[in-house]
């Protein structure tokens, strides 16, 4: 599917498990190849930011390979929603 940056910005982001994560704010691009390296999420759900240890942060960058699909919403693979392991 081909979309536009201005249309992608503002899409709601969910995990495969149906949990709301935040809002797609922007994308990060490699200017050499045009590859999208990641998406920048803002308005993070407090539940999500707590689990990934990003409490109080304005946003996070999610690597593009963690994205399952982008359509009317953005769907993330569940693997990134696992709580960090305590060492």
């Amino acid at each position: 599917m081909v979309s536009r940056l201005t249309k992608m910005s503002g899409l709601e982001v969910f995990t495969e498990g149906g949990k709301h994560v935040g809002v797609l704010e922007d994308v990060s691009i490699d200017p050499e190849t045009g590859k999208v390296l990641g998406i920048i999420l803002s308005k993070l759900d407090s539940d999500f930011s707590k689990k990934i240890g990003a409490e109080g942060k304005k946003g996070v960058i999610v690597p593009y390979k963690a994205i399952k699909s982008i359509g009317d919403i953005v769907l993330l693979r569940d693997l990134i929603y696992e709580p960090p392991k305590k060492s």
């Binding site: 599917m1 081909v2 979309s3 536009r4 940056l5 201005t6 992608m8 910005s9 922007d26 994308v27 990060s28 691009i29 490699d30 200017p31 050499e32 190849t33 045009g34 590859k35 999208v36 390296l37 920048i40 593009y64 994205i67 699909s69 982008i70 359509g71």
Partner: protein, 86 residues
Amino acid sequence: MVTKIIGKSLIGRNVVSDRGTVIGKLIDLSIETLAGKVMMLIVKPDKSIDTKYFRLNERGEILIPFAAVKAVKDVLIINEGGIPRA
């Protein structure tokens, strides 16, 4: 080193050909969402250029394949040979 640029920071930058022609201003990027690749630059044509030599979308905006981009800094430099002619 992989340099990263933020998509929205590109919007509004001037788009210039490697022969010095001002083409216009970048207004959007078209992105292939499955592969995660920027396909086209969507450029609002400068008043001074003749758009009949360019590939346009239905809104009269110029489409330039990302593969034709030579450099991205304060302006975007486009390899003129890589621009599809209408």
